[in-house]
């Protein structure tokens, strides 16, 4: 039973089409990794759901309800939340305010400022500092925490480990494990294949805006996968 259904989606920036006729279905507690080269359309796929890329064709439904992608804020209201590439912490807000911003859609659930700070204690310690005063790894935790504040059914992470030290990556992987225990699904855009194995069950290889190959992470070392990733 799929929770998120992407049908025939074509999207891009301006007039340029970056992803073409893409179909993807996902159950509500699944963890999917999206891999592929730079420019393959991984981020564009995520950004299309949140109104930052232009949608040319196709539709997306969440829990059988049509998603209004152009509005941008509808995805969060329907149960998707994103930690975007580059983290996009608001410079004029404190750590706590950045978290509160994540709750803008008003969905209820287990995640609030306290439970997020239990997950990432550093955010609680530094809640009054400007969000951008945190280190890179802490900002990533803040971005994930902000997304959790929306109490999503599916959490989308765009390159969550980009530029982070191995120890910090371990912390984030552990936190993702805790988040999964709440029955939350994951979509992770990731360059590090090592990490894909640690957080995902299924993977999708994107190339030139199309799905080239997909399968379970158990088959990650197969020849077919290697061939797809080499393209």
């Amino acid at each position: 039973m799929s929770y998120l259904k992407i049908n025939n989606l074509s999207a891009g920036y301006g007039k340029a089409v970056v992803i073409r006729d893409l179909d993807l279905d996902m159950a509500k507690d699944e963890a999917i990794a999206i891999v592929g080269r730079n420019g393959a359309g991984k981020s564009t796929l995520l950004m299309a759901l949140f109104g930052k890329a232009t949608v040319f064709a196709g539709d997306v439904s969440v829990d059988d309800r049509q998603l209004n992608m152009a509005a941008g804020f509808d995805a969060t209201a329907k149960g998707l939340a994103v930690s975007p590439q580059g983290k996009l912490i608001l410079p004029n807000l404190t750590v706590k305010e950045n978290l509160l911003l994540g709750g803008a859609s008003g969905r209820n659930g287990v995640w609030d400022v306290n439970s997020v700070c239990d997950l990432f204690p550093i955010l609680g310690e530094r809640h009054n500092k400007p969000g951008v005063a945190l280190s890179g790894g802490q900002q990533q935790m803040l971005a994930i925490g902000r997304a959790l504040m929306a109490n999503p059914q599916i959490l989308l992470l765009d390159e969550p480990t980009e530029g982070l030290a191995p120890a910090v990556i371990d912390d984030i992987v552990d936190a993702l494990g805790v988040i999964r225990t709440q029955g939350i699904g994951l979509i992770v855009v990731e360059q590090h294949l090592n990490l894909v194995r640690r957080v995902a069950e299924r993977f999708v290889v994107l190339s030139k805006g199309e799905i080239l190959h997909q399968g379970s992470v158990d088959t990650f070392d197969s020849e077919a996968t290697k061939a797809a990733l080499a393209l």
Binding site: G12, Y13, G14, K15, A16, V17, V18, N38, G39
Partner: protein, 355 residues
């Protein structure tokens, strides 16, 4: 980001290629167009013998002057994407400079004119050095602020005996200018050949400038300032040069106005005055060199028709809003659209004049 490169990469060379090809193939159309332009230029000189009513001719002279101001605004918008809400300031500085030199120092018309335009260019280069550093919207605001500042400056009671305060300066030309006698400067049919020649020269210069390497550099900056800088281009000096050139056009317009009317008033620095130029540029068509002149002439005509009804502001405002929303390329855009449809086969290279 990668998407942008995909689209912009192949299209640019192909446009250049097709233009070169089409100019060769469409030579007869090209010659016809040149002849038509020459005919308009020559016919322009005959206008005073057709429009004998001095009031009507005065309106046309004013229209050309406003057209030059619109050309100054349009140049900056087309080449750099910057709207100067204070273009009138350079018009005003020239008018005041001319009046001041001829009254205070009793300089000849030619010397005063050089002083007026020179003062305007000097001021433009100075303030431009700061203004071109900011982005489009703050740019619009600081140019506006500068213009209002100049208005406050000439209003100053301390300078009332030099700059005339509220009533401004009245300066009669002291001798002829560029072959036009002192008496002729003050009559519409006398000054017409001068103003028309200036308009032709300025329009031609802007057209050529738009097509030059400099013009291409400027449009590159307009598209993506940052990328140009990464590519090793210095974007500051071209921007400052463009700003100064644009101010120079406004200065020439101001010179025509002071030579003809002999007035320099604080109102030249008001947003309302630059607003007239903006409306003229928009109506005529941003991105077209001749559109600005058409816009200026139409604006002055409309002002005299509608002014009598007392609802000038209403029409002016409504027309601005409607043109901006529904006719973004103005009348010139409409003309080229219509002529393109009529002469279906004529290629597009020549119709969008300045690009």
């Amino acid at each position: 980001m990668s998407a942008k490169q995909i689209t912009s990469g192949p299209t640019k060379p192909s446009v250049v290629g097709s233009r070169r090809e089409s100019t060769l193939r469409q030579r007869p159309a090209h010659v016809l167009r040149l002849l038509a332009i020459l005919a308009v230029i020559v016919a322009g000189f005959a206008v005073p013998s057709l429009v004998t009513n001095p009031y009507r001719l005065t309106l046309l002279v004013d229209g050309l002057t406003l057209g030059l101001l619109a050309l100054s605004l349009g140049f900056l918008v087309t080449q750099l994407g910057l709207f100067s809400f204070g273009a009138g300031a350079f018009f005003g500085v020239t008018a005041y400079g001319f009046a001041f030199a001829s009254i205070e120092w009793e300089w000849s018309t030619t010397a005063s004119a050089l002083f007026g335009v020179g003062a305007s260019l000097a001021v433009a280069a100075m303030v431009g050095a700061v203004f071109v550093r900011v982005k489009a919207l703050p740019f619009a605001m600081v140019t506006l602020a500068f213009s209002v500042m100049m208005m406050q400056f000439v209003h100053q009671s301390a300078f009332r005996d030099k700059l005339g305060g509220d009533s401004g300066l009245l300066a009669m030309p002291q001798g002829g200018f560029l072959g036009v006698s002192q008496e002729d400067l003050l009559t519409p049919d006398g000054i017409w050949p001068l103003v028309w020649s200036v308009v032709v020269v300025c329009v031609a210069a802007m057209f050529l400038l738009g097509r030059s390497r400099f013009g291409r550099t400027l449009r590159g900056i307009r598209e993506n300032d940052e990328r140009m800088r990464y590519c090793g281009f210095n974007t500051y000096w071209p921007k400052l040069a463009a700003f100064t050139i644009s101010a120079g056009l406004a200065a020439v317009a101001g010179l025509m106005q002071i030579l003809f009317h002999g007035f320099a008033t604080p109102g030249l620095f008001s947003f309302g005055f630059t607003g007239n130029g903006i409306v003229a540029a928009l109506v005529g068509g941003i991105g077209s060199v001749y559109g600005a002149i058409i816009g200026g002439v139409l604006f002055t005509q409309a002002q005299s028709w509608l002014g009598t009804s007392g609802n000038l502001m209403l029409y002016q405002g409504a027309i601005t809003a409607l043109v901006v929303l529904f006719l973004p390329r103005g009348l010139a855009g409409l003309i080229s659209e219509v002529s393109k449809k009529a002469l279906g086969r004529i290629k597009r290279g020549g119709s969008d004049a300045s690009n």
